[in-house]
C-alpha cells in the first residue's frame, strides 16, 4: 500500500497517545449494524503500479485514438495541437496539488494566473470582464441564461436553432426547476443562421437571446443587428463560442455588442479527453459583474503596499450567501484554465491569428474538395473551421462505415438530433491544423466509394 506512510508500530504508538486499544474504538459512533467487518466483498485487493498500468493500458488500447487516423470531429470539442510545455507546466506540483486560493499569501501563483486568464478571456470574447472559469461551455451557457433572468427580471429565453443540442438539453433540464420559459427550434440545412427569425421572436417578456457563433453547423454571421434588436426590447444578447480559436480570425461577439459571452475553452491547452474535464469561459459587460456566477480574482495590495491578488466579490457566492447565492457553483476548472492560459500565452495574438488562418484555410480547401464528391453538397456559404455537408444518404451509417475503414469522418446530425429526419443526411466536418491534406484526400476517396 504505497500511498500509506504509517507503519504498524506508528499506528500502535498513536493509538496509545489517543488512549484507545484498537482502531475499531475510533469507529464506535457507527451503529453496529452498519459496521463492515472487513473489506467490501466482491472487489479485488490492492495492486502494484505495474499491474494497474497493464489493466488501464489494455482499456486504453480499445479506443480509436483521434491522432492516429484521419479525424474530422468537432461539434463542441476540437482537436488542436497542444505545445509540450503546456502539459509539463500544469503538472508542476505547486499548480497540480494546490487548492482553491483561499489563503492568498501562499497562493499568488494560482491567483496571478487567474487574473491573467480573466484578462485573456475578456479580450478574446470582447467583454469587459471574465470570471475565473466554469465547469464547461454547456453549464456556462445555462448560468448565463440564469444571469439574464436576474438582470432583466424576465423569464423567457430565446435559443437559436444553431445552439449545440447538448447545451439546449442542459438548459431545458435546468429551466424545468427555475421556471424559465425556453423558446427553441431545430436547425435546418440552409446556409444562413436564423438571426431574422430570432429577431422576430423577441418581445417584452424576453430576458435574452442565446446564439452560438460559429453555430452548430459551423455558420457565422454578424450579430450586431441581433444585439440591437435585443437592446431595443431591453433584453440581453448571450453569445456562445464553442471554438475559441475562431476568434483569432473573426470578430468577437463582444465587439458586436453581446452582453454576455460564454464559451468552451477546451480547444486551447485542454485536449479532447472524451468530453471532460473542459473549461467554461464566461465574460460580460462591466455593469453586470455583480450578477456574474463563479469565482472572480481581483487585484489589490498587501500590508506592505505590494501588488497582489485575491478572490473577490465573494458575497455573490454560496459559501457566504448560502441559499441566496447567484449560483451553487463552488469549484471552477482551475487546472484547465491554467492550460488554456499557458497555451494562449505561448501563442500570443500573432500565434493565435496565424493558427486561426491555418485552420480556416485548411477548412476551405477541405470543403471545396469534399463538395466535389458526387452526392455531397456544402451547406455553408461562410464558416471558420467547421462546415456542414448534406449527403445523398443518411449520414450516421456512413460515419459508422467509415469508422470501420479507419476514418473518423465527422459528427452526423443523426447522432445529435436522432428524432429529426430532416437533418439525417447532415454531416458536420471540422478541420484544424492537425488535419493533413492526406487526411482530407482519404475522407474524400472513402466518401466517393460509400456514396456511389
Amino acid at each position: 500500500m504505497r500511498y500509506l506512510p504509517l507503519t504498524q508500530p506508528d499506528r500502535e504508538a498513536m493509538l496509545s497517545v489517543i488512549g484507545v486499544d484498537s482502531i475499531d474504538a475510533l469507529f464506535v459512533d457507527v451503529p453496529e449494524a452498519a459496521r463492515l467487518d472487513g473489506p467490501v466483498h466482491g472487489l479485488p485487493n490492492h495492486a502494484s503500479e505495474l499491474s494497474v498500468e497493464r489493466h488501464m493500458t489494455a482499456l486504453a488500447r480499445r479506443n480509436t485514438v483521434a491522432g492516429e487516423v484521419p479525424f474530422f470531429l468537432g461539434c463542441g470539442a476540437y482537436r488542436h495541437h497542444v505545445p509540450a510545455s503546456v502539459d509539463h507546466l500544469i503538472q508542476r506540483g505547486e499548480f497540480l496539488t494546490a487548492y482553491t486560493p483561499y489563503q492568498p499569501e501562499i497562493a499568488q501563483g494560482t491567483l496571478q494566473m487567474l487574473f491573467e486568464f480573466q484578462t485573456q478571456v475578456a479580450r478574446l470574447l470582447g467583454t469587459d470582464v471574465a470570471n475565473a472559469s466554469m465547469y464547461d461551455g454547456s453549464t456556462a451557457c445555462w448560468e448565463a441564461i440564469g444571469m439574464a433572468r436576474r438582470i432583466t427580471r424576465r423569464g423567457k429565453a430565446i435559443l437559436s436553432s444553431g445552439l449545440h443540442p447538448h447545451y439546449v438539453s442542459v438548459a431545458k433540464t435546468m429551466a424545468k426547476y427555475t421556471g424559465d420559459v425556453l423558446d427553441t427550434t431545430s436547425p435546418t440545412l440552409v446556409a444562413d443562421m436564423d438571426l431574422d427569425a430570432l429577431i422576430a421572436r423577441i418581445d417584452d417578456d424576453t430576458s435574452c437571446v442565446v446564439v452560438q457563433y460559429p453555430d452548430i453547423l459551423g455558420r457565422i454571421a454578424d450579430l450586431t443587428p441581433l444585439a440591437d434588436a435585443c437592446h431595443a426590447k431591453k433584453a440581453l444578447l448571450i453569445a456562445v463560442v464553442t471554438e475559441p480559436v475562431a476568434l483569432g480570425a473573426i470578430r468577437s461577439p463582444g465587439e458586436m455588442d453581446a452582453d454576455i459571452v460564454v464559451g468552451e475553452g477546451q480547444s486551447l491547452g485542454v485536449g479532447l479527453q472524451f468530453g471532460g474535464p473542459y473549461v467554461g469561459l464566461f465574460g460580460c459587460k462591466d455593469k453586470y459583474v455583480r450578477q456574474m456566477p463563479g469565482r472572480l480574482c481581483g487585484e489589490t495590495v498587501d500590508a506592505d503596499g505590494r501588488r497582489g491578488f485575491v478572490l473577490t466579490l465573494s458575497t455573490r457566492e454560496q459559501h457566504i450567501r448560502r441559499e441566496k447565492a447567484t449560483s451553487n457553483i463552488c469549484t471552477n476548472s482551475g487546472l484547465c484554465a491554467l492550460a488554456f492560459s499557458i497555451h494562449m500565452t505561448l501563442l500570443g495574438e500573432a500565434g493565435l491569428r496565424a493558427l486561426a488562418t491555418v485552420n480556416h484555410a485548411g477548412a476551405v480547401a477541405a470543403a471545396e474538395r469534399l463538395a466535389r464528391v458526387p452526392g455531397v453538397e456544402l451547406v455553408n456559404d461562410v464558416f471558420f473551421n467547421e462546415f456542414t455537408l448534406k449527403l445523398s444518404q443518411e449520414a450516421r451509417p456512413v460515419v459508422r462505415t467509415l469508422a470501420d475503414r479507419g476514418i473518423l469522418a465527422g459528427v452526423s446530425l443523426g447522432r445529435l438530433y436522432p428524432d429529426q429526419d430532416a437533418l439525417a443526411n447532415g454531416l458536420v466536418v471540422a478541420v484544424t491544423e492537425t488535419t493533413t491534406a492526406e487526411d482530407v484526400e482519404a475522407l474524400a476517396a472513402a466518401l466517393e466509394e460509400v456514396l456511389a
Binding site: 504509517l6 463492515l36 473489506p39 497540480l96 470578430r251 468577437s252 480547401a365 473518423l408
Partner: protein
Amino acid sequence: MSINASGWRPEMAGKDNADGAAPTFTGNKALMLEEALIFEIGDTTTTGVDIAPAQEGKSRLGNLARDTTIGLPGLSEPETVRHYTRLSRQNYAIDLGLFPLGSCTMKHNPRLNEKMARLPGFADVHPLQPVDTVQGALEVINELAVWLIKLTGMHGVAMSPKAGAHGELCGILCIKAALEKRGEGHRKVVLVPESAHGTNPATAAFAGFKVEDIPATAEGRVDTAALKARLGPDVAAVMITNPNTCGLFERDLKEISDAVHAAGGYVYCDGANFNAIVGRVRPGDLGVDAMHINLHKTFSTPHGGGGPGSGPVVLSEALSSFAPLPYTARTKDGHVHLIEEERAEEFAVEHFGGKLDSFGRMTAFHGQMGMFTRALTYILSHGADGLRQVAEDAVLNANYVLRSLEDVLDAPFAGAGPCMHEALFSDANLADGFSTLDVAKGLIDEGYHPMTVYFPLVVHGAMLVEPTETESKAALDQFIGALRSVAERAKAGDPALKTAPHFAPRSRLDETQAARRPVLAWKDPAPMAAAAE
C-alpha cells in the same frame, strides 16, 4: 489611475525586510522571485509557437474577418516556461507539505493517475466518436461506476456531474423528479443542518425548495428530535453531511432516514467526507437515497488550484431511474453502451421496468472522463483492503492531532468521544484581540497551509484540521509542534502574530479594497495599446 496601471515597482517588494537587510535591486529574495504579469513582459507580436504557413485559398469568412487587435500578449517558449514556473513557486501545495484543509481531503495525488489519464487512448478520444471506437473509455466509466456502487452499497450511480456542487444538484433533482412522479410536487421544504456546506442550501434553493435550518446539539450532531419534529407532508428531503463538518459521525442517521422515509421524504447525504468511512461503512446501509462523491477528495484526483472536480452521485433503488443522461450500461452481449436521449427509452425497458424517468441532461458529453481515469487508477491501486486502510489511517491521524492539541486549543466536541477524519478546534481560549485568522496566518510562517477556518459556522472561530491518511507520523508530529507553538503565541498575545505572515511571498492582502473597487482585468497603460499592430 487604477492600481494595476501603476504596475509593479521593485521598491515596493524590497520594503520592510524582516531581517533589516537592504532591499534588493530586483525585489527578489534569493529563491523568492517576483514575477510581472504577461501583459507587462509580453507583446502582441511575440509567439512561442511555430505555425506552418496556411494553404493558399480564398477566405470564406464573409464580412466577419477580424479587423481589430485583440490585445493578447505572447511570450517565447523559454519565457513562458519561466513565467509559469516562477508563478508556481508562489503556491503552497500538497507536494510541498501537509495541507490540513478540513473538509477538502488534501491527500497525496499519485502520479500513476496522471500517467494513465494521458494515455492517448483516453486523452485523445472525442466524446462523439462512434461508440464502437470508444469501448475502452466506456469500460472505464462502467468499471468505476461498479466500484462506487459497491463501496457505497447503493443501487445506481450518475457519473456526469462535474463537481461536488453539481452532484448535489443532480441528487436533489432526482429527488424532485421522484416526488413529482409520485404526484407530491407540493413538498417544498428541504431541511439542512446549520453545519452544512454552503452549497447545500444554495443547491436546494436553486431547485425551487425552501430551505429550513435544523439546529445542532451541544455535542455537534444534528438534533434528531428537532429534525423528526419538523418532518411532515411538506418536507421533500433532508440534506445531511456524514461524517459531518464537525468531524463527527452522525450516529442517528439510520434512525433519521427511517423517519424521513416514513414521512414520505428522501435523504440526501453530502459525501464530501466519505474518505473517513470508505471501506468501513456503506451509506446505503444507513438509508441514504442519494450521495455525491468528490473524486477529487476521497479518490485522489488533483485539486488543481480549484478544479476540475468530479461529482458522481450514487443513488438508492427509489431514485436510480431518475438519473440524468447520458449513462453507460453493459448489456447482455457484453458491450458497454452509452445511453443518450435516443436510446433512453429502450434502456429503460430493459433496466427500469419501462420507466423512462431521467430528469434530463446536466452537461454536454459524459462527465469528467479525465477524472474517472485517475480515480479508477487510484481505486485499483488501493483495492478493497487498501481503501479500508485509507479510512482507518485518516481517522487515526485526525484523532492523533485532536488528542495532541486539546490541552492547548479549545476542542468543543472532544469530550464526546473520537472524531472521524478531522479535528475541530475553536478560538475560545486565545488572548483578547487574537483570532483564528491570526493562528492561520502564523501557521503560514511555519511552512504550512492553514486549516479550514471559520467553518463550520456552528463553532465560534472554527479551525477544522484534516490531515488525511497520506501523512507520516513524523510529518504529523512536526505539524502538531508548529500548531502548538502558534497557539501558545496566540494565547500569550504575541503582537508579531497579528501581522503574520512575515515570510510568505505577500503579507496580508487587502480584501476590502479588492471588493470595493474591483480590478478584475489588466488595463494597458497607453504605450502597450499603441505598440500593438
